[in-house]
Symmetry: C2
Subunit: 360 residues, 2 copies
Amino acid sequence: MTYKNYPMVSRVVFGRGSFNQLGDILEPKRLNERAPFIFLVDDVFKGNSWLTSRIPLAYDDQILYISADEEPKTSQVDELVEQIILSHKDRPSGIIGIGGGTILDLAKAISIMLTNEGEAKDYQGWDLVKYPAVYHVGVPTISGTGAEVSRTTVLTGPEKKLGINSDYTPFDQVILDPELTKDVPKDQWFYTGMDCYIHCIESLNGTYLNAFSQSYGEKAFQLCKEIFMDNDLSEKEMQDKLMMASWHGGMSIAYSQVGVAHAMSYGLSYLLGTKHGIGNCIVFDHLEEFYPEGVKLFKVMKAKHNIQLPQGICNELDDNEFDIMIDIALSLEPLWENALGKGWKQKISREKLLSLYKKM
Amino acid sequence: MTYKNYPMVSRVVFGRGSFNQLGDILEPKRLNERAPFIFLVDDVFKGNSWLTSRIPLAYDDQILYISADEEPKTSQVDELVEQIILSHKDRPSGIIGIGGGTILDLAKAISIMLTNEGEAKDYQGWDLVKYPAVYHVGVPTISGTGAEVSRTTVLTGPEKKLGINSDYTPFDQVILDPELTKDVPKDQWFYTGMDCYIHCIESLNGTYLNAFSQSYGEKAFQLCKEIFMDNDLSEKEMQDKLMMASWHGGMSIAYSQVGVAHAMSYGLSYLLGTKHGIGNCIVFDHLEEFYPEGVKLFKVMKAKHNIQLPQGICNELDDNEFDIMIDIALSLEPLWENALGKGWKQKISREKLLSLYKKM
């Protein structure tokens, strides 16, 4: 058996207000005056000077505001890379993603595609990236996805929704400033936090589990329970703890895998553009037979926070569309093997997936 | 307030038998045929072909067997560096430490001193290292110290026992193979495991605590309780979990600090050469007033595992010798500030330390 040699984030700062250190962190990384830093910022922060006034700009540095309303696409990566190359004299000194999983994944993908030829879709898969990425920094402003710590960047391509999994994907620097999450709307807070919770359930109940993943997964799971079930945490404590839950949850799947919820959620996302966090919730709500305890607690948390999940999102789909979703879901073989073991093909059928999708 | 920008271990492999991957991991790191890999191996493994036959040797690669009976010294680092330089044509491609905290700290220090001028004692302190170290790999064969994950390498110098704390100290690669810990003698297993336990107590009860350190410290603490208190874990589970406890405990102090036990233990170690793990235990046993809950549980674990700590190790000391230990302990200001807060100088006196040392 060969074990993964996992590449870690090179450096991490943790603390409320640590975002103020971004300028000091970037300064020694500037290659020259013609090589800018490109800040990819979630466009919810456009006009929010509390955050934007602290982005350190010099020379040809540029802020690109990006909508996170849709899941990140390979074509979007290619367009942004072209735009960055055409509007600057030199290759950037660094790419800084400031936002949630969508923005962080775009930042990772762009930093890779600035040094690797071809199109982003060519690199969807495992270990296809040839050259080290441009220096890249992740600053999460919403917690849960684990994108800040993982070696993947999940993109929707023309043929598949799949990550660029590579040793060059992880951030060179992460800034964990829980204060940046203070204005996240409640429903998004729940969906993204549940992304973390679902990571833990899938990792802890997976056949790939080992003591490394287990210790991270258990800690993230316990933090999620504190955040979403305890009544005596302050807002700040909840923000701090969710940022760490996301980190540990990401580390848990880093050395393990996700499972049924993610596989099926990728199908929804590919066909309907359903965002990852809410998609995971919509799917997970129907997975009692795979994760009985996890789904039970999920329903308690959903009720406690008065979350109404969308219903009937598959009502209008035809057979062909269901087939597409099922194809996407089943193509994610490592996720199924983790969830159901080596004999997973005997344990799951297209009919089963169809009946589950029809409930959503 | 400025937060630490913590440098992480670049890569980590976890798994039973993962030590077999050492050759594959090193191969692309060889600079040329004249630049050897130097393996620093705890001399308890001399003649143990189960381990040594799996050390991949080629060209001018060399195994140096090192005794871990004494704490690592700055003079020892300087001698080993000189020996390595004199006996090879080129600067090494890498230094691989295979052993416990002593061997791992020596490997880290040697890799630094191969690229930085002067003597190791010149770099004891914080951020004094100028140039990146030679590629270095840590393979723990006993778990607890957290040396595999920290940015320090604790050395006894002519004037002080203090770490070389720097961004270049952490390993480029760590291999966590719990199987390598299978032959650790029981008393060493206990002392080194307690080093981890004491890290957690000092971190979780320290004023430097934040959500980052807390989440790692709580997990390591919980793992220690499982390992040393539960009766239903298998040997393998205990090995796996202690390896992760050490990792998480190290990460917890990475972003926080240790406290009273470590400060006083450094005094013992400097004057009497007491090894770090047992020294921490000897000190911690008398720290009820600082860590009441932690010491209570420590005594339960000590009794459960029939551990007899040495008594009266300070009986023969004179006033001058006590003064030396007290000086060393009090010089570790961050440890006291973490333990007792900014006003620590009002809360601890030389008399207090003297009375504690006299009990040991």
